[in-house]
């Protein structure tokens, strides 16, 4: 496997941004209530992370060390705003569904952390691989958490209006705790404990 593949694959499990690096938890806890939200947020993170990692890797030699953080933030915020405006103007349907997640990406520390820890020290191609891997790893974790919250919390599963199933008893009496904010902490803690116990991921 080439270096590109290696940088990509590490984000999925070994350094999974959610379960191993424990990054980006604030937006994750807030929006992991349905599969729709999970996909929307993942797409927003993918777009912004790809752009910011590529730009920062490209200008990394000109960035003086002491002002690197402000530069990262300015680049990321600019990226997000440009993507936001472009989507609003040209892809109204996508904007409608991503509308609340795109601005949230600015405060998603995965983006800043990858700029600091990876893109500012590695060439563009590897930074793109890193961005792809981290985004897919984030998406997998987010889908897992959203599934485990949406199904018991609403008693049914439907994605983008397409209805999959309704559970027999839970459908009438859903366990609301899973949908409410503290349910997110519960689910993520149980998953982390499970992954550590089984040795799938090391913290």
């Amino acid at each position: 496997m080439g270096k590109f593949g290696k940088e990509f694959i590490k984000g999925l499990i070994i350094t999974n941004p959610v379960f191993v690096l424990v990054l980006g938890l604030c937006p994750l806890l807030a929006i992991s209530t349905s599969i729709d939200n999970a996909l929307g947020m993942s797409l927003a993170v993918l777009i912004v992370l790809l752009g910011s990692n590529a730009i920062i890797a490209a200008i990394r030699r000109f960035i003086p060390n002491i002002v690197r953080i402000p530069i990262f933030i300015v680049v990321i915020a600019t990226m997000v705003t440009i993507v936001n405006l472009t989507f609003h103007a040209n892809f109204p349907d996508l904007y409608e569904s991503l509308g609340i997640y795109l601005p949230l990406v600015v405060v998603n520390c995965i983006v800043l952390a990858r700029a600091e820890a990876f893109a500012s020290k590695n060439p563009i191609v590897h930074s793109i691989a890193d961005a792809l891997g981290m985004s897919v790893g984030f998406m997998l974790a987010l889908l897992m958490i959203s599934f485990l919250r949406q199904v018991p919390g609403t008693g049914s599963l439907s994605v983008f209006g397409f209805h999959f199933f309704t559970l027999p008893v839970l459908g009438k009496n859903p366990i609301a705790i899973f949908i409410l904010p503290y349910g997110a902490f519960l689910v993520i803690a149980l998953l982390m404990a499970l992954f550590r116990r089984t040795g799938v991921m090391k913290l």
Binding site: I59, P64, V67, V74, V75, T78, T81, L180
Partner: protein, 182 residues
């Protein structure tokens, strides 16, 4: 010697300034080329929502925060925005009135209620409960009205119901007053 160290110290500031300048230019440029399109999109969105409530709408007027709906030159109703305080934040509702007393229909424009619970206020199974009601009957059944709250989402339901009723009464007053003046 002194000048050289000053220049060295100023270097990061210069780089940061240049990058911020580039970013501001890029943002201004993007804003200027998307501005008109975004405005057109927003107008289309409003028109789309209005015609969902008034399928026979041919055009609308917007004065004093009230949309007046016309169908082939005849006035068929009014629409306006109402804002309610929900469980998770503001709920924005587009309310359509057939005449000064009857609700034609409502659409939830935006909300941030709990997904799966309060978010059901946006579903037609809830919004359809308003159709054809007298404005005064827009209240929870246990409070003398005609509408049942969604099970488990009483706060969100009440927010929508109260916002629709109070705003509608306000607007109806405003409408009759302005008509009396004419």
């Amino acid at each position: 010697m002194l000048a050289k160290t000053t220049l060295k110290n100023a270097f990061p500031i210069i780089i940061l300034t240049v990058i911020v300048a580039i970013c501001v230019t890029a943002l201004t440029f993007t804003e200027s080329i998307t501005r008109d399109k975004i405005k057109a999109q927003e107008e289309q969105k409003i028109q789309h929502m209005l015609s969902a409530i008034f399928p026979d709408m041919s055009r609308y007027d917007f004065t004093n925060d009230i949309y007046t709906i016309y169908s082939d030159g005849a006035k068929v109703g009014y629409a306006f925005l109402a804002v309610g305080k929900g469980y998770g934040g503001d709920i924005s509702i587009l309310v359509g009135l057939k005449d000064e007393t009857t609700v034609k229909g409502i659409t939830i424009v935006s909300h941030s209620e709990t997904p799966g619970l309060g978010s059901r206020i946006a579903e037609s199974s809830f919004t359809d409960r308003f159709i054809g009601l007298n404005v005064e009957d827009v209240a929870l059944r246990q409070e003398g009205g005609q509408i049942d709250a969604i099970t488990g989402s009483t706060i969100s339901s009440r927010a929508v119901i109260d916002a629709v009723r109070t705003t509608a009464m306000e607007k109806v007053k405003q409408l009759t007053e302005s008509e009396g003046r004419e």
